[in-house]
Symmetry: C2
DNA sequence: GCACATATAATCAGTATTGAATAATCATGA
DNA sequence: TCATGATTATTCAATACTGATTATATGTGC
């Protein structure tokens, strides 16, 4: 799910592009946040062509072998927006990855973004509460000598959820301007 | 890679277990941090049996249909420790997930843990520096009207790396005691 | 006593991802 | 000039993951 969003987003913003070019764009621009392997890109380009989200054109340049250059279609643009919305709306997010929607924020409806961020905000504070409660429950099943250390796992998650919450609040303020 | 660590760890700590029981343990104890689907568990149990990391025994209880109960082998225990080390040592970690090693910290050599956490600490502050520098570079390729918003993506990552750093320092202090 | 939901248990077919292999071109410097 | 390594570009086989399906067992209210 993550991969198609990126491909469609890059094709929309910088397209038309061929597979290898796409991979380099991803590497140059979002490699801090996500990794996408070349075969994965080719795989999805093919799938998306079948679905009519992109069209391929065989191009010859110089003496180089032919290559397929892809463009996003109208249908692809609609799908892109739908995927962005879905990605941003996901609830269970223990990896804290919302990089694609952030990267393509400008393609989204600001009202949708704000609504979604507020939901995430609610969700995060719920998780923080739940984490405290669940922690005790889980600890009972962990051998006593491992408990002190296992506690670090909950600590780890708490700190990240707090960071997420902080970011959501910053972003909502920023979007308000 | 994540899944086998959990399976081996649970078999070591609570085993012998059958597939469904494993899935429930994962759901009860680490569902805040990771999700593992049933078919994935069955898939890996089979793979790991082939590799000799676990042994299966068909068991009949009451009128219930037979089911395979798995135990960890000596080889499996060695593999478990190796996997824990590898997982903790991973450098590129944009998801901030180190839940398995944390959960099974008590199985690891404290010296290894400290060494690895110190490495992570170094890595995190490197990333924070790099993020600042890379940010400007990336921004040049982003359409001006999208920049303010795309900046939130870097902000998001910075905050999480700072949270990670904070946790690493807390943990090193805690392990020192 | 029996309908209906939920829990237990496993499998399968379809989808996604990765490591490895292939092959051509380009840059370089000895 | 020509060998060597890096870059460009794609494909394939193997591996991993998921949604959907199947099937039995157990508990619950009526």
């Amino acid at each position: 799910m993550k991969v198609p969003v990126y491909i469609l987003g890059f094709l929309k913003r910088y397209g038309p592009l061929h597979g290898y070019r796409l991979k380099r764009l991803v590497a140059d621009m979002v490699s801090d946040f996500t990794q996408i392997k070349l075969p994965t890109i080719y795989y999805h380009l093919e799938k998306m062509e079948e679905k009519g989200l992109v069209t391929a054109e065989r191009k010859q340049e110089g003496r180089r072998p032919e290559r397929s250059v892809y463009s996003i279609t109208k249908k692809g643009e609609r799908e892109f927006l739908a995927l962005l919305r879905d990605t941003l709306a996901v609830r269970y997010r223990p990896e804290f990855q919302i990089d694609a929607p952030l990267f393509f924020f400008d393609s989204m409806d600001p009202a949708d973004i704000v609504a979604s961020l507020r939901e995430q905000e609610k969700h995060c504070s719920d998780v923080l509460d739940h984490l405290e409660a669940h922690r005790e429950e889980v600890m009972q099943h962990i051998p006593p000598e491992a408990r002190r250390i296992a506690g670090l796992m909950f600590q780890h998650h708490s700190l990240h959820y707090r960071a997420e919450l902080e970011w959501l609040q910053d972003s909502l303020r920023e979007l308000d301007r």
